[in-house]
Structures are given as C-alpha cells and as structure tokens.
Symmetry: C2
Subunit: 338 residues, 2 copies
C-alpha cells in the first residue's frame, strides 16, 4: 500500500552499502495488507495491516535474537541491499533482499509488525525506519524520564520525527538547525526551544552549554539542508555539540558519516562523565512500543505522497532536498490512498 | 597518616590544571585520623580513620549536590590546584586548596569518608582518587551485571585497581596492555584474559572483536609503559579499541589527553549502538560503596611506601615509571606505618 523513501534508498542504489545487483529493489518503510500467511507465520492473519522496516530477517538463535534485540544479530538481513540471511533456506538463501518499491513483498512474520488501529498507515510508514532510528536511542536512554532535556540536531526526515516522538515521551525538546528557516516547523512539531546554528557553533552554543541530557544527531555534516544525504565530508563539529551536554549526558549519532568525524577533545567528555556514540534502527519489540506511543499521542510524520509509479521523480525530488519532511509512495492498485 | 601519589600530583605541580601558586601542596589520596571536629561536621568523631580524594568541597545547593553527584557541581573544589569553593566563607574563600603531602589537613566533613574497619588504611589511600576514578564508571555502567565482560586498558596505577574492583563486582576481566610484560600481574590481579598490544592494534584485536561490554581505558596514548603521565600526544587508536565492543557497549576514557584524540570512525559506533566517552572521579556516596566492596572482597591496591619526608625522591621515581603500581607516602609522625 505504502512505502516511505529514506536516505538509505538512494544510498543503497548508489552502492553505499556495497555492490548493487541487477534488478535490485529498494524501499524499506513498507506498509501493506497481509494477503497470504505461511504455515510457520506467527501472530498475523490475512487482512492485517503491517509494516516492515530496514531489517527483514535475523538468525533467531543468537543471544541478541533471544534477547529481542535482533538489530544486533550478526546474521541480520537488511531489507535492501544485503543477501538474505540464514533463515531463508533453500532456493532463496543467498539471494539479495528486495525492498518495498514494489507491488508485493514477502518476508518472515517476525519482522512484519502490525500497525495499530487509529494510526494512519500512510503516515506510519516512515516510522518503520526513520522513526525507529530515532525512537530507539530516545527510548534506550530514557527520554522523558532520566533524560528530560532532549536535543534534536537537524530538522529533516529523521529529525522531525525525533521531535514528535521525544515530546510524546514527555521530554522537553530543543531543536538545533542551521539558521532560522526551520524554527517555525520545529516549534509546531513540539520543540520548546530552538538553537539556530551558523558557521561558528562555538558562538551559537555559548549560552546553551551543559543544558541537554541527550542529543540525537540526525546529520553528519554541518549544513542540515542536505542532511538526508549521507555520503559526506567529515566536518561535523562534534566537540561543539558535546559542549551542550549536561553531566551523564549522551550525544548519539544516527546519520552515517562515511569518513572519520573530526578529532574529539575528550576532557569535556571526562569532566561531565558524558558519552558520544551511535545507534542503529531498533528491534521489532521497540517498533511495537513506538507504534503504540504514536497511536496514543497521535504522532503523525509530515508526509508528501507520490504515486508508486512516480518513484523516479520522487528520487530526483528527494535528492534535491524537497521532502518536508518525508516522501511516501502510494500503491493505489493495492488500496493505498493518495 | 598516608597519602597516595597520583599522576595528577606531578601534573598539577607542572601546571597541567593552571598556574601553580607559590607554596602549593599536592596530594589528593589522603588518609588520616580525625583529630578535631568542627561544630558543623556531620558523622565524624575524633579518632575516626577517614580519607579524602580529589574533591574536597562543593556548593551543597545545586541539583548535583542535592542528587549526591557532587563531582558534577559547577562550583566543585579539587583538593589540589583549584581555589577553595563558595562553601569556604570568610578568610579562606578564594585561597588555593591544599593537598595531603603534609602533616595535617583540614576540610569539610562531607568529603571525608570513613575507611571501613578491616581495610588497611595505607592500601586504601589510592582508592580515594585512582580507585574511585575507575570504580565510578564500572559501577555506573553495571560491571558484573549488565556489563559482564569488562576490558581494562593499561595496567598501571588506575588499571590494576580497575581489574581488582571489576573482578570484585563479578565481571569477567580482560586486561589489555603493551606486550607481555604485565601479563602475569594482570592474571594475578584477577583478569582471566590478556590481550598484548603492539604497534598494530587492528591485528592485535582481530580475534577479539565484539567481545567486551565495557572498556575502562586508563591510558591516553598507545604505550602504557608511561600511562601515568598525562601530557601526551593524541595518538591513542580509539577506533581499534571501539571494535572490541559488543552491541550497547561503552569505551570509557579516564586518562586525560591534552590534545584531541584521533578522528573517530562512527559507523562502528552506529552499527553496535555503542558509545565512547569519559568519566571523572565519583561522589562521596560512590566512594563509600567502593570502600565497602573493597573491604568485603579484600581489594588491596599494590603499593610501595615512601616516607613522607622522601616526597621529592618519590616524585622522581614516579616520573620514571617505577610504581608497581602505586606509591603511598607515610607520615610516621602521625601514626602511619612503613
């Protein structure tokens, strides 16, 4: 029915995650109706509306799978651009996983998560990758509880969902973005503070040092106007952002930098017993938790719809930075609504 | 009675933390007998054996002081080399804090912690700075519980205590040090695994990737033979150490690097939802917790004693890397025992 368009899709098609095999299909924020259920499928029935995110399989046997943190399974299968994992026996084993820019999709039930009633399935699509990417670190680090003051760097596809989700979790959100262009949107999304950055973050942050418990950084370069494109220079001023952290705070990056980021000045990490790190997607259990939160608090990503037939135009517009803040492709043949 | 000799002492005397005022006295692992108690002192009596670490005062009024994480008080006073904080009113306010390379010491009761009965006061001294510096991140990050597999980088003053404390907390400890020189000591201290490093950490760690939940890094340059000296080049291969982390793992630095550390390759932090960061000393409550653990599990730092009168020779020997693994100065006039 629907598939969100995430930065990793053009990235994968451009070879960011390795060679692209002929006939590769991207798309990993997939929402649709269950039309067939295999004999070993669990918890799903024909007619259910489900979503699949960036992970579509794992080994089921390792400690991480058993602990329901399947995103760390060493045999995990990304929904696009990686070979199908060991759970796919027989003819399918070793074939490349295919995504949701398609009419139909088939995969293991464990990674098909029901969309709760009351949550618009089209708006839910971007939650399955972009949403969980920011929800997981918000959740793991206690946004709204022990991390009351949350910063979100970059107001794009991921950042706008991070603001909404953090607010729904009870956090006080500070949005951080270049210039004033996105201030109005950030406040509308639920931020209560806004820090406009310039080419001199030290100066921009002078009045805000030691104010945030947790920062989710969705960009990996200084100018978030093109935050959604991930092959970028190693120029994010990490040290300036870390100076915003309160003691025990954490600066978490969710946007890949293909090159090493700038040298880290570690005394400020030591003085505040603070951390910097990364986070990658989240488990099926966490996706369920996020969807329930979204349904309860009416968290609806801001989307623009494209007909699935217009995928090529959508990719062009995406690369031009036009999403405000997420594109969703609509498969009208299967009941998707424009 | 006793005072440990920590790397920050020669550091402070050399101006590492700012200008050194004439007559400055270092020493911040102080253990002695209470001989006078002021009218506002709490919980102490003449005759008690107490210790004072790297922090000797704080404001008592900020959120961190109220939450018993006084080490984050913005007005915290280091026991050496910083001006006395706002709690010292009157004539003393603004005067430089003086340390424990002395016959007597005077300070607020809040930062004088009782040494439990059954713990040798001389061996306890190094716990008050070096010990709490490694205990705090071990404790905060759940060593022995959610962080079962702990790595300790650098077997020196801090590292040897980290191995003993982590083992006492129930962790499985991997010691990481240059060459094989310290292997026997590391195993004797309680490590069950040992990784010898060379000039090629990528190769050294090839068989150990994704094996550790928490790494306490006590060095800030590649060669831990001189780990205790902190004014050093920015050459620690952080990325190699981070590759040892399991998912949700953390690489915590407790040794200051005066220059920015090498550029960080963040995709491996993202893929494992891992962190790197720092940690600085710990609160009086944490010191109490550590001392109780040490008394219960007979954690005794390996010390060599010097008479307090021989402090200048001790500093020379310290800089030459001779401690194995901590020097303790003995004030025989006041009941310290050689």
């Amino acid at each position: 029915m629907y598939c969100g368009l995430c930065a990793s899709d053009p990235g994968a098609l451009a070879g960011q995650f390795g060679d692209v095999s002929p006939g590769a299909v991207a798309g990993h924020e997939i929402v649709g109706e269950v039309i067939r259920v295999g004999p070993k499928a669990e918890g799903l029935a024909v007619g259910d509306i489900v979503g699949i995110g960036a992970q579509c399989d794992s080994c089921r046997e390792c400690e991480w799978c058993k602990d329901h943190e399947e995103q760390f399974c060493p045999e995990m299968t990304f929904s696009i651009s990686t070979p199908l994992g060991p759970y796919r026996r027989g003819a399918a084993a070793g074939r490349q996983a295919q995504g949701g820019f398609a009419k139909f999709w088939r995969g293991p039930s464990r990674f098909a998560i029901k969309v709760p009633e009351g949550l618009d399935p089209a708006a839910a699509a971007p939650l399955f990758c972009g949403g969980i990417t920011v929800f997981s670190p918000l959740n793991y680090n206690g946004a709204g509880t022990r991390a009351k003051r949350v910063g979100v760097v970059g107001i794009g596809g991921l950042g706008h969902m991070a603001i909404m989700l953090a607010k729904a979790m009870g956090a006080e959100v500070t949005a951080i973005s270049r210039g004033e262009a996105k201030k109005a949107d950030a406040l509308k999304l639920g931020a209560t503070k806004y820090i406009a950055t310039s080419s001199d973050p030290e100066k921009d942050f002078a009045d805000h040092k030691r104010t945030l418990d947790l920062i989710i950084c969705t960009i990996s370069k200084p100018d978030d106007a093109t935050a959604s494109l991930t092959l970028d220079p190693p120029s994010l001023d990490v040290n300036a952002y870390v100076s915003l952290l309160r003691p025990r705070g954490k600066f978490t990056m969710v946007g890949f930098a293909s090159q090493p980021i700038m040298p880290v000045f570690q005394p400020q990490l030591i003085h505040n017993s603070a951390d910097m790190g990364g986070s990658q997607i989240g488990s099926p259990d966490e996706i369920r938790q996020m969807l329930d939160l979204a349904a309860k608090h009416n968290v609806l990503p801001w989307i623009q719809k494209y007909n699935m037939d217009d995928i090529n135009q959508a990719l062009v517009d995406f690369k031009a930075g036009k999403p405000a803040y997420r594109f969703v492709l609509v498969n009208t043949d299967n009941g998707g609504k424009m």
